[in-house]
C-alpha cells in the first residue's frame, strides 16, 4: 500500500474541523491521515520541521484573513490547500499567488477536499470550480495567456459539467480536458511572486507532460508589472 499523506487542519470552527475529519475518515482508500488539528498558526510555528505533508488552511482565522501567512508556511516546507468560505476571485488569486497548491471553497469541500490534498501532496495541479471561476474572471495585466481550448475547458468546468461531459462537448477525451485545465493552472504557477511550491508544481507539470517549458511565460513580478503601467506611479514620475 502507498504511504498515507499526512495532513494538518488549521481551522477555528471545531464543527468544520469535525466535518473535514469525517471526510478524511470516509475516504474508501484511507489515503490521508490527519495528524494535527489547530485553531491558529502558533503551534505550527513552534515546530522546526514540517509536521505533515499538507496543511488544510482556513483562510479566515478568528476573524482575520491569513492569506499573507501562506508564503511563510510554504517556505517552511508545507503544501497548502486553502479551504475557505470566501470565494471572491481576488482572494482566490491572492491565495494561489502566495503559493497555495489549491483552493477549495466550503461548498466544494465534500467532493473535492480530499482529492485536492492528495494532488497537492504529489505537487499536481487541482483546479476546483471556484479556482476556474477566479481564472476566468482574472483581468490583471500580468495574467498568463490561456489558449482558446484551455479557456473553453475551464468555462465548461466552472459551469458545472463533469470532466467527461466537458470532453464530449469539446469532442476530446476526458484526459485531454484534465490536461487543458492543469496546463492553465501550471501557467499561473509560472507567474507572480516566486514560491518553492509553485516551482514544484511547475516541475511536476513538465515531468508529467502537462506543459512544455516553452509554453511557460517568462517570470514577471506583479509588483513590477504594476509600476510598468503608465500614469499609476507616484505623481511626477
Amino acid at each position: 500500500m502507498e504511504q498515507q499523506v499526512t495532513v494538518v487542519i488549521i481551522e477555528d470552527h471545531p464543527v468544520v474541523t469535525e466535518g473535514v475529519a469525517s471526510w478524511i475518515r470516509s475516504d474508501p482508500g484511507q489515503r490521508v491521515r490527519l495528524v494535527q488539528m489547530a485553531r491558529d498558526l502558533t503551534e505550527l510555528r513552534a515546530v522546526p520541521r514540517p509536521s505533515a505533508d499538507v496543511i488544510i488552511l482556513d483562510l479566515e482565522l478568528l476573524g482575520e484573513l491569513v492569506t499573507t501567512q501562506i508564503p511563510d508556511l510554504v517556505a517552511a516546507g508545507y503544501r497548502v490547500v486553502a479551504f475557505s468560505g470566501h470565494s471572491d476571485p481576488a482572494i482566490v488569486m491572492e491565495t494561489l499567488d502566495n503559493g497555495a497548491h489549491a483552493y477549495v471553497s466550503k461548498e466544494e469541500g465534500r467532493d473535492h477536499l480530499v482529492e485536492a490534498v492528495l494532488a497537492a501532496a504529489a505537487d499536481r495541479p487541482y483546479v476546483t470550480r471556484s479556482q476556474a471561476r477566479a481564472i476566468l474572471a482574472d483581468q490583471r495585466p500580468a495574467r498568463p495567456t490561456l489558449s482558446e481550448q484551455e479557456r473553453q475547458a475551464l468555462l465548461l468546468w466552472f459551469q458545472g459539467m463533469s470532466k467527461a461531459s466537458v470532453g464530449r462537448r469539446m469532442s476530446i477525451s476526458e484526459n485531454t480536458v484534465r490536461q487543458y485545465i492543469s496546463r492553465a493552472r501550471a501557467k499561473y504557477a509560472a507567474t507572480g511572486r516566486t514560491a518553492p511550491s509553485k516551482d514544484a508544481l511547475l516541475a511536476r507539470a513538465i515531468e508529467d507532460g502537462v506543459i512544455k517549458p516553452g509554453e511557460i511565460m517568462p517570470y514577471t513580478s506583479f509588483a513590477r508589472a504594476a509600476t510598468d503601467r503608465p500614469n499609476e506611479g507616484a505623481p511626477g514620475r
Binding site: 471561476r133 477566479a134 474572471a137
Partner: protein, 367 residues
C-alpha cells in the same frame, strides 16, 4: 451624475462668456488706452523705443494670459509668471520715464493691473490684492526715487483710486456673476431632472402595462381554468404549468426592480420557485458582467424557468463574461432533455444531455 453634468456645463458656459468679456476689456485697454497714451506723450519719453518695447512685452503677456484663461483655469505658476512679467515691464517703463513727469506719462500701470486681473481672476481674491498692492508699491518706489512731494503723492493716490478701483470692481463683478451663473444652472438642472423623472415614470407605466398584457395571455387563462374546474390541480401537467407561471410572476416583479446586475437578480427570482420545491440552486458569476438588454434577458430567464421547473434536486446557474458578451449556463438533474423556449434577441442557446444531467448555455453577444 447626470444631474451634475448639465449644471457644471451650463455654468461653465456662462463663465467662459465672462472670461471672454474680460479678455476683450484688457486687450482694448492696452491697445486704445495705454497705446493711445504712449503715442500722445511720444516726445516726452527719454527713449520712445524702450517704452515701445515694454508696451510690446506687455502685449505679449496679455496675449499669453488670454490664451491661458481661454484654455481653462491656469495653474498658479503659469498665472504668476504672466503677472510678474507684466509687473516687471510696468516697473521698467516707469523707471525709464523722465523724472517729475512719470505719473503723467505712465501708460503701463493700468495695463499691468489689468493683466493681473486677467490671469488671477478665478484664483483667490487675496492673490489679486497682493499683486495690485505690489504694483502700486513699485510705482510708488519709482516715484520716491525721483523725489516725492505732496503734489506727486496726491497724483499717485488719484491714479491708484482710478485704476486699481476699476480693476477690483471688475474682478469682484465677475465673481458675483460666476456665483449667479452657478445658481441659474442649478435651477435649470433641477427642472431638467424633474422632466427626466416624468419621462421615467412614463416608461415605467408602459412597462407595467406590457407586463399586465403578458400575464393576460399566460397566467390569467390558467387561473381561469383552475377556477372553472377544467384544470385539475392533482394533474402533474397542471402543477408544472402552475410552477412555470409562478416563476414568471416572480420574474415580472423582479424586472420592475431597477437594480445593478438585473439579469442575476431576475435569475434569483426565477430560481425562487424551484428552491421552494427543495431544489438546491447555486448561482455564480465570473467577471464583471455587461448589461444585457431587457428582451434578451427575458429569453435567458425563460430558459432558466424551463430548466429549473424540470430540475429534481439540484441546479447550477453560472454567468461568465465571454469575448463579446455573456454566457449563462444551466446544469440540472432534469433526467431528460428539457424543451427550451425559442432563442432570439441576440441570444443563442445550446444544450447537451449527459446521463441524468442536462446542460444548456445561453450566449448573448453585444455585437
Amino acid at each position: 451624475m447626470t444631474a451634475v453634468q448639465p449644471t457644471t456645463m451650463m455654468s461653465g458656459r456662462y463663465q467662459r462668456a465672462f472670461t471672454i468679456a474680460v479678455v476683450v476689456l484688457v486687450a482694448g485697454w492696452h491697445l486704445a488706452g495705454a497705446g493711445g497714451q504712449l503715442l500722445d506723450y511720444r516726445p516726452a519719453y527719454g527713449s520712445f523705443a524702450f517704452q515701445g518695447a515694454m508696451w510690446l512685452v506687455m502685449a505679449l503677456a496679455i496675449t499669453a494670459g488670454s490664451v491661458l484663461v481661454l484654455r481653462g483655469a491656469p495653474g498658479w505658476r503659469a498665472a504668476w509668471v504672466v503677472a510678474v512679467i507684466a509687473l516687471a515691464a510696468s516697473t521698467a517703463a516707469a523707471a525709464a520715464s523722465p523724472a517729475g513727469q512719470m505719473l503723467a506719462v505712465n501708460w503701463a500701470w493700468g495695463s499691468a493691473g489689468w493683466t493681473g486681473v486677467l490671469v488671477l481672476l478665478r484664483r483667490r481674491f487675496a492673490e489679486l490684492a497682493w499683486f495690485l498692492a505690489a504694483e502700486a508699491l513699485a510705482i510708488l518706489g519709482v516715484q520716491a526715487w525721483d523725489g516725492l512731494n505732496r503734489a506727486d503723492l496726491a497724483g499717485f493716490l488719484a491714479l491708484l483710486a482710478w485704476s486699481t478701483g476699476g480693476q477690483v470692481a471688475v474682478a469682484a463683478g465677475v465673481r458675483a456673476l460666476d456665483l449667479a451663473a452657478g445658481q441659474a444652472a442649478t435651477a435649470a438642472a433641477g427642472e431638467h431632472a424633474a422632466r427626466e423623472r416624468a419621462a421615467t415614470a412614463q416608461i415605467i407605466r408602459v412597462a407595467r402595462h406590457a407586463r399586465w398584457l403578458a400575464l393576460q395571455e399566460s397566467a390569467v387563462p390558467l387561473v381561469a381554468e383552475l377556477a372553472a374546474g377544467t384544470a385539475d390541480p392533482g394533474d402533474a401537467q397542471v402543477r408544472v404549468r402552475c410552477a412555470v407561471q409562478a416563476a414568471r410572476l416572480r420574474r415580472l416583479l423582479a424586472e420592475g426592480d431597477e437594480v445593478a446586475g438585473s439579469l442575476v437578480h431576475e435569475l434569483h427570482a426565477s430560481a425562487d420557485m424551484a428552491e421552494r420545491r427543495g431544489v438546491a440552486v447555486e448561482i455564480e458569476t465570473a467577471g464583471a458582467l455587461p448589461q444585457v438588454p431587457g428582451p434578451a434577458r427575458r429569453v435567458i430567464t425563460d430558459a432558466a424557468i424551463a430548466i429549473l421547473t424540470a430540475a429534481r434536486s439540484q441546479a447550477r446557474i453560472t454567468l461568465a463574461v465571454v469575448a463579446a458578451g455573456i454566457a449563462v449556463s444551466f446544469v440540472a438533474d432534469t433526467g431528460a432533455v428539457v424543451p427550451l423556449p425559442a432563442a432570439g434577441e441576440g441570444v443563442a442557446i445550446e444544450q447537451q444531455q449527459d446521463g441524468g444531467m442536462f446542460w444548456a448555455e445561453a450566449r448573448w453577444n453585444s455585437r
